[in-house]
Symmetry: D2
């Protein structure tokens, strides 16, 4: 099998199957109808599955339930034993979940198909540490189809879908994860992915940096042998940059978090919908006529502000960055300091990435019934800690909704205890997850196949051409038809007909 | 006590407390902060209460549960016995629900307060038949505070909040309703409201027309003695117009369904939000880039189309009325026939009030994964019956979500089995219910106090001035400040400073 | 020729050619491409024509120019003499203008064609008093094609397009109008339309009520013989209602001003565009980030507010009517009193129909550079008179733009001296004029053909079915495809398949 | 006087007067009212001045008019002779224009004031080549106030405002420019700015690269002595990058064209308004219901699409870049190839920067009356040349509007002969020009004061901190209040409280 050998990043030339294709777009589209049309089926099923999981779980005998997965012997129907999960019996159910997710992730399925005979990941030994969900399973099985060997742990002790883990194990994957791990379990699972005789991983796919950190600290020699790291999260990327700055990052890494497509979908497009969804599900608030202050006018703030304005709210914006501030003005929002409007608003939404943006002094001045929530990252934007004082009463009125009651009976409605509203009170559409997963897969392929010297020990952004490729793989979902440059036009613009189409500093 | 004697409708002069007030708006606003600020508290509580009700219910002994309320002796703590509900023990819980609803219904509370010493409903004997919820309880207690005696039944066998019914009974109301009545129970309850010795009701407040019909048929003499009917529903209004047309309506009725304020809130403003909410909660669909066809461009269709357009969907509209069709064009929607787009859309939403708008032939041509739902009224817009055929498989994937599967594996996602999405899969904001309840209260007051001859035996629209009054009572929620005409301006326009401000044919 | 005999208004049955047609829609559409595609050609030409008129005028010998048209003998190339216009030599130029307007008024052209052999206006003797423009000429020639005889005067001393008047005269019409009439000329022209031996007009088409008034006062006997009046303007309608109220209106009249389609286009849709256009052409102001207060939230205010919000302005609204006020809230605008924001806004726009809305006290408090304009009707909304005081300096900076300068050097920018911005500083799209003209033609046909007794001496709104017909005639412009009710659906809804589709109180 | 010595770009520390200020924001704002309030005055005046210029020009004796400025002796009232303009007598009129522009360019005025005693441009000898307008004059006088000596030529043979040039000359500037230069004049003027005994320029401010090219070619030794180039245009920047790539750029240059603030205003915000303005002024087209295709979805395409969608048009988008394409989808536009919609659209707008996007084959297929215009850059996007064939007739219907007529009578309406609509048919708001001029001034200051070694011979983007500073100087116009980071927050984010606030790859 021919080794995949793309050229260096600026002149990066993807194999034919990776090029944006025009000719067969029409046929693709017809086929698509059968496939991607199901995008919404799986969401509903995913949900029902989550629900039914509890019931599914109920047929596991209780002895199993009480015993830690680590203490049980595990074996798939085909005799595979190199895994540790909750309950292999749920495999069929998990498999159905994965099949449904496949229908909503046409880009990964296209990757499998487009590669044709080529297996760009043959020889790749990938250790992964991500949320273990049906969508991740589609990613893992795609990597496997492209030639990789995978070992996988969970990046979060609660987020594992046990049935999916079971299906993966049944399918022969070495997966170490279950819902409700202890912290000790967490690191034990990670270690099981890494420390195996006769297994030298050469690629890392990480979400949060814990896996990377574990290998870096515990297995420095193994670390040096890694060909590349693909990191998905803000936190993990931050840790990589620090490592790099300190001169201790000895291998190349790709920061997929800041890929253009992912950023726009995770932040602007996804938040535009999830702010409404999260608020409705948790509070049933009517948006029309409400006064809202959105703190921060980055992509998340832009999405939240636009959505609420469209629903008839009166939106104020706060900003520290004068460029974003000027954008808010031109988009029709009054730019204020928080104290100018805090007494009058019905809703406060933080989207800053900063800490103590809604400090206790502001909480004190809010009017009765004001709703406070966080769409930024981390849980520090609202100073929730400052509300844990004796004079204030907390009343949990439903899951993710607390009333904090002042001595004069004023109540504020705090959502998700200041954690991310969109993760706590709404769902992330599979379409968004598909974009991320596709980006991860391509970054792995790129790093693994990059010729010597293309990447130095540093943190790289995703090559723009790959970003464009991810986008192009998702266009058929919208029956969207790309225009192709003519030869003459390409020459005029000095562009290849297959991209990249913009300079690196282009801002979209 | 002075009898309330408003003048005839065109020249209708509300008592001082009913006039739109300007002078004290500022103080009102300050007080409002304490009251209306809680608008969203109660929604969340209502929900949690609905949930907790089930658990609340669980402490009722099972013997009670099995016995029909009709077979049990009922008695409040104060010895009141003239009621029939599920369980008087839930009264405290229901009282708390009512108190929370009060905070979100400032207009009714203002009515209580504004009337001051006057009790415009002294002598009124109101029989009511509506959903029995916390919001209705606030209405009933307002009527009572204004002097009325009330007897009440439920207009729907499922919609009664038992705890609220208990609180009303404990408070001395004669309420006959519980969740899960049989049809026989339903009519028995209505009859108990009506046929009581020494009780000649003189006002009817109806929602659906069943109570009106029952009295009309069973107690024709009693019917003739009624001073007026206030009807809330499309169906009930339709029945009244038919009665009137047939020359058999011997008493005046007010159609509150078509009041301007109610229509705009029930249809345009409420649906603008609930279409998004209902779809997200049931399917988690991402709106951006989706192709949607909205059938019908009345107020509901306008709200749905605007909301989805704002969220980045591509919206097509179908219409039969050329005026609404032209509006759709000017609002930026392609006006199509359903068959032109049915193969390509991701979502089909009906808002027509018509039947078989989405006939089987269209369902057959939809693409895989298409979501179909109804925002109009009744459950006839989608020809769901035609889908109950042997070649199609139904799969319930969660509450209110069915997959209907064609032999070739195509699935469509049918929501709420074609019933109203907004009622089935989202919630109605209390603010909207407040507008309806206030309108009902004012219509009762108007009919009861109208001097001889102002209303003939006919169906009337709500006098515009009252409509304006309802609107003005809800403005403080938005900290909205109305401008008052100067004397000179009033004269110039030929308008009273207290309204009505528009001719009857004005369209808003 | 069969007399056109439509039935009474509620049951009004238009002849076959007037029914909304579905079958041949597709062919219509293909043909349309050739015709309606030119919609924008004529606008531009109209403009250039206005411009070129001045030059066109320049080739008239100056002696003619100085002599009043009344003093000159006039004669068309075919010997027709019964007219009085500026200059018959401009006929060719005017004819071209009319031909272009025809292409933009497909509805009138369709009326001509649809009537086929039928000439519903045979025997009608119409006196008209409207603006004399190319669009009016298309209307007049349509009336003529349908069988009517016409005599016409101008309703405004400045608005006559002389070349168009020339083309009409050359075509045999008796038209009495020129640009720049004196007041005496104005009434003389009207009288010449009316007082002709052997001419008893039987229909009046009026815009402003001056013609109606003239006949009513001067020729009371002639007035009684009129079959019907069609009145287009707010003022004229007002005068008719007053006459009717006083019991002196002895013939039926149709108020076309309040037809639904006309209202929406004249107010909402037209103003949504002309507010932006008028402001840009007169001031080049950038809308993004500007603070704007819109006084009045009727259709005009709704259009202005929506447009400016969409362009990134921050919009405040003032209202006296609580229902419109509540709409403003739900549409996302802060409802304020003018004094709350007058110091901070960059733009003040009046849309109230009221007087002295922007009184001197508000003008005094505006900030330097504030732009003030009127989109309502009449020129009384801004108290311009109060600015004619010695301490203020007026500086005309361009046509329609005055700076009013306070002693402290503060300037406000007053547009069109407080007259209508949309008429003074932007243009009215022919599409909007087409809707009005079509409505007028249909109202004339209806009144003329109505059987005895359908219309009493009163002021009527346009029958809804005709309103729908006007709308349907304009749908092809947007390639819009109306859905037809099935028989079953019509029965279910109790509607005729050809309309009317809504109850009279429906608000659109 | 202390030399201004800012530190290197990443750690660039502006002098105190250049830091974003919070403390005195309130006072600033009050003062602002007097100044910036006039923003719209000057626009209107500018226009009237343009108009009145012709009349102003008319009092010049014709002999002067016919003689080339180069052949006349020129002298200001104070004896200054080192300039060459049209007519010094217009100086007073030009001065008034400049004064008005000053009021609309508060950022430059703030720069003058903030520098206080410091004169960061003392010793700077700036040669400039830009449009010579009132706004440029404000820039030149700002540079002069900050210590620079200036010599200036026009970058366009038509764009010079003669009165402004006169005022500059009268004020002592060496300006060489007039409206209607020949090409020979053009280069002569440039040369006069450069080649002067005892004048070695050390800074270049260029717009288009002609000045830079002239010095580079003609005076290579002088070129090497230049400290830095500030280039404003796409073309000029392109030429600089080519020079740099070829290794022949021996001095540092700043590309101000790609500064974030300028890009957003020149493209997104400005085009959002000018597309509507340009279309209305040239064609009076009604936007509601129109079908439009926008070619290209960069910033310009985004602005055009959003504006037309907001006005009720149905908008289709074409794109070659899959990322921008995906954005169009998520923003609610159908992504099509041009041939899919070309037969049905009413409007075609190009925003691609590409050539032959609207090729003859598309023009052939457009429907009658279709409007075609270009909002991108250059005049190559529409293949206008292909329309200059014998079978097509061109008819100029007004300035900037041509009808191109096919043999079958089909007309398309071509605007500005395919040149930029926004420059040809609408105006650029002074606010946008203010942003550009401020950016140019700061770039000059930075390059001139940069310590040895901060900038190498290369093309730089504007340091982000300066971009932020430009934005902050323009916030007061919107009464916008920036929030300041607390020390704790700055530390948490790792940011200085004075910025820069974002990583370089941030996309806004």
């Amino acid at each position: 099998m021919a080794k995949w050998d793309p050229s260096t990043s600026p002149a990066f030339q993807p194999p034919h199957w990776m090029q944006i294709q025009f000719a067969d777009q029409k046929q693709e589209f017809n086929k698509r109808l059968t496939k991607t049309g199901r995008h919404s089926l799986s969401r509903s099923l995913s949900h029902s599955s989550t629900d039914s999981y509890s019931s599914a779980a109920s047929y596991t005998d209780s002895s199993e339930d009480e015993m830690s997965p680590r203490d049980r012997q595990q074996r798939s129907s085909k005799g595979h034993q190199d895994f540790c999960i909750k309950n292999i019996k749920q495999a069929n159910f998990g498999r159905r979940e994965i099949e449904i997710a496949e229908q909503e992730m046409p880009a990964l399925m296209a990757l499998r198909k487009r590669s044709g005979g080529e297996k760009p990941l043959v020889g790749a030994k990938v250790v992964g540490c991500t949320h273990i969900t049906a969508q991740t399973a589609v990613l893992m099985e795609t990597l496997s189809a492209l030639g990789a060997q995978c070992r996988w742990a969970a990046c979060n002790i609660y987020s594992t879908q046990n049935a999916v883990a079971a299906a993966l194990a049944e399918g022969g994957f070495s997966v170490f994860a279950w819902k409700g791990e202890s912290e000790d379990d967490f690191w034990w699972c990670i270690d099981r992915c890494v420390s195996l005789e006769a297994w030298q991983p050469n690629m890392i796919l990480d979400d949060g940096g814990d896996l990377t950190h574990w290998i870096f600290k515990k297995y420095p020699n193994m670390f040096k042998m890694i060909k590349g790291i693909v990191e998905e999260s803000v936190t993990g990327v931050h840790r990589l940059y620090q490592l790099s700055k300190a001169g201790r990052l000895c291998i190349p890494a790709i920061n997929v978090n800041d890929s253009i497509t992912k950023q726009k979908f995770d932040n602007l497009y996804c938040c535009r919908e999830s702010i409404l969804d999260g608020l409705k599900r948790s509070t049933d608030v009517m948006f029309g006529g409400k006064q809202v202050v959105v703190c921060g006018y980055g992509e998340v703030g832009k999405g939240c502000s636009a959505a609420l304005k469209a629903m008839g709210s009166v939106v104020y914006v706060t900003e520290v960055d004068p460029i974003c501030a000027l954008q808010a003005c031109m988009d029709g929002f009054r730019l204020v300091k928080l104290n100018e409007v805090i007494r009058q608003v019905d809703l406060v939404i933080t989207c800053t990435g900063n800490k103590n943006v809604v400090a206790r002094e502001y909480l004190d001045r809010m009017k009765n019934g004001c709703i406070v929530c966080n769409m930024g990252h981390s849980n520090t934007e609202i100073d929730v800690v400052s509300l844990r004082t004796p004079e204030l009463t907390w009343e949990k009125v439903r899951s993710q909704v607390d009333h904090v009651i002042w001595p004069d009976d004023k109540r504020i409605i705090l959502l998700a205890e200041g954690r991310l509203l969109n993760l706590s009170c709404s769902t992330v559409p599979t379409f968004v997850l598909s974009i991320t997963a596709t980006t991860q897969a391509l970054a792995l392929i790129e790093l693994y196949n990059a010729p010597e010297g293309r990447y130095k020990p540093d943190v790289y952004l995703l090559p723009k051409k790959m970003d464009e490729f991810v986008a192009s793989l998702h266009l058929p979902t919208f029956d969207a038809h790309l225009t192709e440059l003519t030869d003459e036009q390409g020459k005029y613009l000095g562009l290849s007909k297959t991209g990249p189409f913009k300079p690196n500093y282009y801002r979209y």
